[in-house]
Every structure is written in structure tokens, then in C-alpha cells.
Assembly symmetry: C2
Homo-oligomer: 219 residues x 2
């Protein structure tokens, strides 16, 4: 089924945070583990933030998570290295399958949007740096509702912006917990399982699973 609107997650779905590894490798041989932990804590802090009812924006959570990961691996970060690493989140490269997939969906007449935990300035910078800004009709940030995915009010932003019903909205994420949250909300969800992980066993099931975005639009 081709949806009239596809809403994409950003980090891990359109742009690749594993590309941070070479920069981190200059600081420690544990670069892969540090980046994995950085991402894990970034998400854990976003969950904690929503649950505690203390909203702090994603740029700040990213910085806090970096400090934790650096401490875990005994990396002393000077202010400049720290700033550069945090800033690198706004310059993540797109996965190679992204541009062709967006081209194809546009050619089919679909509208496209991003729905991300990132702040509005971070979304704008990241999408522009990745050379993807021409494709999107909207960049939707959780910042306007001060809560993080998978809170339902976040997914509701797309409903509100485009005036479509939940089931008419195609949602694409590589993050299993995000796909589960979006499916729970009622979107027509495609889980792009880039990392060949097991399917989440809690939450609503995505309507379909694909290995890369080249499979879009998927039945």
C-alpha cells in the first residue's frame, strides 16, 4: 500500500550515528562501545525525562549522555572535543538507501515528513547537512509538546499537522521501540530493521518489516 504521507524517524533511520565512531576513535580504542553507550543513555535519558515530568531538550540530553559514556570509558573530554562531538549529531550522513527511497516516494505523489526527538534547530541543520531538505514537507520536533517518543502526544503531531487519520499515516523507523510506540498509537508502521535485531516482544507489532528503505513502498 502506498500511503499519501510517510513520516520518518531521523536518528538511525535516515542518518547514521555510527559515523561518529572515527571521531571517537581518536580519543579511545573503545569507540564503538562508547558510541553504543552514548546512544543508549541518550534514549534512556529521554525516557527518564518524560517519566519524571522534567523536559530537557534533546541537545542537552545528548550532552549528558556523552558525559556518562566518556566517564564509563575513562575518556577525559576537553571542552572543545566535547562540543565537536555533540555538534556532530547535526552533521550525520544519510544512509545510502535514503535519497533513492525519498525520490521514489515523492515520484509516487506521497508527502514526506520527519518526526524526531531532536530540537527544531537540530532537525533543520541535520536534514540540510544530509542534503535531504528538498524532500520534506515538515520537520516535526517533540519539542513542541515537551515529551519524548513513545508518548502518544508526540505521534499526534503528525495527525495534527497533516489532518489525516492515524491509520492513513505511514510511519517508518529503524528503532524497534519507536516502531512499537507508533504502532500502538495507530500509525501504519514499517520497521526498517537495519541492524537485524529481534522483533520487539512488547507493544503493538509494526504492520511490516523491511531490511532497507529500498523496499519502500512496501505491502
Amino acid at each position: 500500500m502506498t500511503s499519501q504521507l510517510y513520516v520518518f524517524d531521523l536518528y538511525g533511520t535516515l542518518v547514521d550515528y555510527n559515523s561518529l565512531r572515527p571521531q571517537v576513535y581518536l580519543l579511545t580504542p573503545n569507540a564503538s562501545s562508547l558510541v553504543d553507550l552514548w546512544r543508549l543513555k541518550q534514549l534512556q535519558y529521554s525516557f527518564m525525562s518524560s517519566m519524571m515530568g522534567r523536559y530537557v531538550d534533546f541537545d542537552e540530553l545528548t550532552a549528558h549522555a556523552l558525559d556518562y559514556a566518556a566517564a564509563q570509558y575513562g575518556v577525559q573530554l576537553d571542552a572543545e572535543s566535547r562540543e565537536r562531538l555533540i555538534d556532530a549529531w547535526s552533521q550525520l550522513p544519510p544512509y545510502p538507501d535514503v535519497r533513492p527511497a525519498l525520490e521514489k516516494l515523492r515520484a509516487l505523489g506521497a508527502k514526506l515528513a520527519v518526526l524526531s526527538n531532536g530540537t527544531p534547530p537540530a532537525l533543520a541543520r541535520t536534514v540540510a547537512a544530509a542534503g535531504l531538505d528538498e524532500y520534506f514537507d515538515a520537520l516535526l520536533s517533540v519539542d513542541s509538546v515537551k515529551a519524548y517518543k513513545p508518548r502518544p502526544e508526540v505521534y499526534h503531531l503528525a495527525v495534527e499537522r497533516f489532518g489525516l487519520s492515524r491509520g492513513e499515516i505511514g510511519f517508518v523507523s529503524s528503532n524497534g521501540w519507536d516502531a512499537a510506540g507508533a504502532a500502538e498509537f495507530g500509525f501504519d508502521v514499517t520497521w526498517c530493521n537495519r541492524n537485524r535485531l529481534p522483533a520487539e516482544t512488547f507493544g503493538a507489532r509494526p504492520a511490516r518489516t523491511i531490511a532497507t528503505l529500498a523496499e519502500l513502498p512496501a505491502d
Copy 2:
């Protein structure tokens, strides 16, 4: 400062889920990694559950998390092994520092309680199997508010049960995110850093950090 009430987290603070490893080792050489992932997913699912607004009890989340971790490590679980592993969460041994610490606090006249994500039957069974039931004035389960830590209404259960103000309640957890959530709520928090992890860099800071419960009561 000696509090008149100490509220303890259960899993990882009083009882040790690392003791699950030998049983898992019979199924896979990746037992340590599988147990780590099992715990990680158990907590992630508890966060997702609260954020999605779909409460599912902790026994069920534990089962879902085991299924995920088993899939990740290619372990085929028959129904009996699966049941036995899930059931093992109700028979986790106490850490060696637990009983002496509870004895000491009782001798000082403090009341003691458990506040846990576990279901009421699981709490009762676990505390009894660990031989700790004589020490506690209350076993408080999140199940009565249908939300998970670090949601404030969970911590509020102790306020409600004992009629003390937040700052009068000593809260002890080895889980950094739980210590942060409880500190955010306003408890007088002791983080027992059993695993020598970095301090959490998001959320309110615990009032103090100790290495083992032998340091209780701590200034």
C-alpha cells in the same frame, strides 16, 4: 543522618539477578550477555509501558524481555525452561551485605520497606525466599498505580503509606536511574553503587553514594 524510614529498591539492590547466569549458562555460553540484555529490555519495556500508557505487569514484561534476549542470542527456549527462568526472579538470593544492614537499621529504630516494579505476589515471594520478610513493614508495588519507576506517583506510594514528608524518607537503590528519579521526587536518596558505574548525568543527584549497604546509615 538516620532516617526513621528506609525504603529499598529490590532488584539489583537487595537481591542479585546476576545469580541467573549459571542457569542461563546451561543454555548458552553467552549467559552473562543474555542476562544483561534481559535486564536491559525488562527496564526498557517498563519505560515504554508507562510512556505508551499501556500498563502490563512486571512478570509479563520479564517474560517478554526474556523472549527478546533469547532471540538475540539464538537460544530456543522450551516452555519449561522459559517458565523456570521467569520463576527464578522470585528466588533471587540477597546480596551478602543486605541482612546485616537491615539488622543495623532496625536496631536503630528505623522502619523498613520495599518499593519495587515487581507485582505484589512476586515481591512477597522474593522477599520470603531471600529470608528477609521479618525486616519489612511494607512491600510496596507499582502495580497499585499501574505505572513504573521513575514516575512520581510510584514514589508517592511510600509517602501515602507512612505519612511522612518526602525529605524524611530515606530511599536506597543501586539503580542509578531509580536513585535519580527518587531524588527528583524529593526523597533523601542513597545510591548504592554496587557496580562502580559512573554517576548519572541527568536528573537530580542522590544525596550520597555508597559502595555497599554496610555503609548504612550514611551521612
